[in-house]
């Protein structure tokens, strides 16, 4: 592998298809189908939602916390706005921010982990020490600290959440890279004098698709949890914007009067995170292969156990 440019490109091409094939096979397992269906449902609500309602999510249409009725199918919220309209309009930004934070975290963490393992020596020490420092901040606390300085800017939250994922991703990918960089095909390319950067990009990265895919899924779940949690704490989109996390906080004082204003957004967030996590587990199962699945170990646990060693 990797002796002539033409062979390299075929290699990368096959790897790309392998990545799709892992996802495809995962989607066809029962667990994968269920996970994907749950995610698809919430994504459909969040994406199509804003186009499905003619009521403005910020208009006062009924009495505060009034129950479901012909005016508002899910009743009114703390200020008498239509809960259904707010639910339909309040999800897309969460999805977008979670996806962006995950992407950022996996790219930064992946680059750091691969470089640390492949370059070794001082680079490894420096990167892993930084990882240790970042790890000492719980993700939510890290985000809160940054928010306290610059205010609850949405880009800042994406950046903070992404950065707080990077250490975990770096650890996992460093372990996988250590394993791969000892293989013969890497040694062969090294002897040809290919630059480390090219070796990492062309030889090592394509072989890390399995841990990368699983990590991305896991991180996506956590991103959603943290970003929705920040909104719940009041550090996300400012009121009066509709936002699932914020809705739960705004309306929980009226739980007795109109529980739907809390239950519906909370359920949508829960279905989403359960969906992404279930699908990630399905991907991990497929990636680990049949023999490990037969052992009955839950696939994500096998990854976690390996990361501990």
């Amino acid at each position: 592998m990797g002796q002539r440019p033409s062979e390299q490109s075929t290699g990368a091409h096959i790897r790309r298809r392998e990545w799709l094939s892992v996802l495809w096979r995962a989607a066809r397992t029962r667990r994968g189908t269920v996970g994907l269906a749950l995610v698809a449902f919430v994504v459909a609500v969040a994406v199509a939602g804003p186009f499905l309602t003619r009521v403005s999510p910020t208009d006062f249409v009924v009495a505060p916390f009034s129950g479901p009725g012909p005016e508002a199918p899910l009743g009114g919220d703390a200020l008498g706005r239509d809960v259904l309209a707010r639910v339909l309009a309040g999800g897309w930004l969460l999805l977008l921010m979670a996806a962006a934070a995950t992407f950022f975290g996996v790219v930064v963490g992946g680059a750091a982990g691969i470089s640390a393992a492949y370059l070794r020596g001082r680079a490894d020490t420096l990167i892993m020490r930084s990882v240790d420092v970042l790890l000492a901040f719980p993700s939510l606390v890290f985000a809160l600290m940054l928010v306290s300085i610059l205010g609850p800017k949405l880009w800042l939250i994406v950046l903070a959440v992404g950065l707080s994922h990077a250490p975990q991703v770096a650890r996992v990918l460093r372990a996988s890279t250590l394993d791969i960089s000892e293989r013969d095909f890497v040694k062969a390319v090294e002897l040809q004098g290919v630059k480390p950067r090219l070796i990492m990009a062309r030889e090592i990265l394509p072989n890390l698709i399995t841990p990368l895919t699983v990590e991305t899924g896991l991180r996506l779940t956590y991103s959603i949890i943290i970003i929705a949690g920040l909104s719940f704490l009041g550090f996300g989109q400012p009121p009066p914007s509709p936002n699932w996390g914020l809705m739960i906080n705004e309306n929980r004082i009226g739980l007795q009067l109109n529980p739907w204003a809390v239950v519906v957004p909370a359920t949508l967030i829960a279905v989403l995170t359960v969906g992404t996590n279930t699908f990630s587990d399905a991907v991990a199962r497929v990636a680990l292969g049949v023999e490990r699945r037969a052992e009955g170990i839950m696939a994500l646990d096998a990854f976690a156990l390996e990361a501990l060693r």
């Binding site: 000492a136 929705a228 009041g234 739960i248 529980p259 170990i297």
Partner: protein, 312 residues
């Protein structure tokens, strides 16, 4: 051992420098944060002098670090109280919350994990495994809200929905106020501990030494307690440690949700008010907890390993 502690202290020093740099040296400085819209150049200058913002960054940091170690880190921006006096009682309450949750969660998680491993692929194992896969993915505030709906508002009102403590009382003096926050945290951490315990136990049960012990004709309880369990403990200790760390972040949302007077709630309030000295202290405390727990779990896992691995 000594190396680990030294590494921990260095990590903590860097962490404190990062916290300090992020919250004090970056633009939008503290004086500006306090005065907000009332900032006139004159007032700004006076306050900068008072907060020593006119000194160089390393000097400010040294002064702050010294204060942190001697317990004198100035006053809260929002109410003028000494920061340490504000945070200390809350720290005790949060510690109680974390400790109780961790103990209950670990016992339930380990027990479920061992039983599921012994009945691998039977109905109990499948049921608990699927439930844990679902619950793992739930955010704390969703679990907490669900508990509030079931036990404190809509479905029944057997427990208080908020855990407001009168000033001067401790969390354990009113145990009923602890029930829902603890239950939320337990539900959040049990799945992780269960899954790790189960995986580790299955691996131990399928190992050669357990097979050997079985073939020798040892009774089942002996195989289990003497041969399998000790080998499953180290990874579980690490997972329990990881979960304690996770609790350090989890208390923020749970304390806010239940109005529980701990450092998590204080952090949220401080961030809303841009009360920088309080934010700095709480973030450093949480990070210190992380570093300390990391060392403790490493050492315990090491001691608990039957092979007694030598420290790297």
């Amino acid at each position: 051992m000594v190396n680990r502690v030294a590494a921990g202290v260095i990590t903590l020093l860097i962490v404190s420098a990062v916290v300090f740099a992020a919250t004090q040296v970056l633009p939008g400085n503290a004086a500006y944060a306090i005065l907000g819209h009332n900032a006139t150049p004159l007032r700004l200058h006076a306050l900068e002098l008072q907060l020593h913002l006119d000194r160089s960054a390393p000097e400010q940091y040294a002064r702050w670090l010294g204060g942190l170690l001697t317990g004198n880190i100035g006053n809260s921006f929002s109410n003028g109280q000494p920061v340490w006096a504000l945070v200390a009682p809350r720290l005790v309450n949060s510690a109680a919350l974390v400790l109780v949750s961790a103990v209950i969660g670990s016992v339930i998680g380990v027990a479920l994990g061992v039983v599921a491993a012994l009945r691998k692929d039977r109905a109990f194992d499948h049921a608990v495994s699927v439930i844990s896969l679902v619950v793992t993915a739930l955010p704390e505030f969703v679990v907490g809200i669900a508990l509030v709906i079931v036990f404190a508002t809509v479905a029944s009102q057997v427990l208080p929905a908020v855990s407001v403590l009168p000033p001067g009382t401790w969390a354990w003096q009113q145990p009923e106020l602890l029930v829902l926050p603890v239950a939320t945290l337990v539900i959040v951490i049990v799945p992780y501990i269960f899954r790790m315990m189960r995986a580790a136990m299955i691996e131990a049960l399928e190992s050669d030494y357990v097979e050997m012990a079985r073939l020798k004709g040892l009774p089942v309880w002996r195989v289990l307690l003497v041969h399998a369990l000790p080998n499953a403990i180290p990874p579980t200790v690490q997972v329990i440690g990881l979960n304690l760390l996770y609790l350090a972040g989890g208390i923020v949302v749970v304390e806010y949700l239940f109005d529980f007077p701990g450092i998590g709630q204080a952090l949220v309030n401080a961030v809303s008010n841009r009360d920088i000295p309080v934010i700095q202290l709480i973030v450093v405390l949480l990070a210190a907890f992380y570093v300390f727990m990391n060392i403790v779990t490493d050492v315990v896992a090491l001691l608990a390993t039957p092979r007694r691995r030598i420290a790297r």
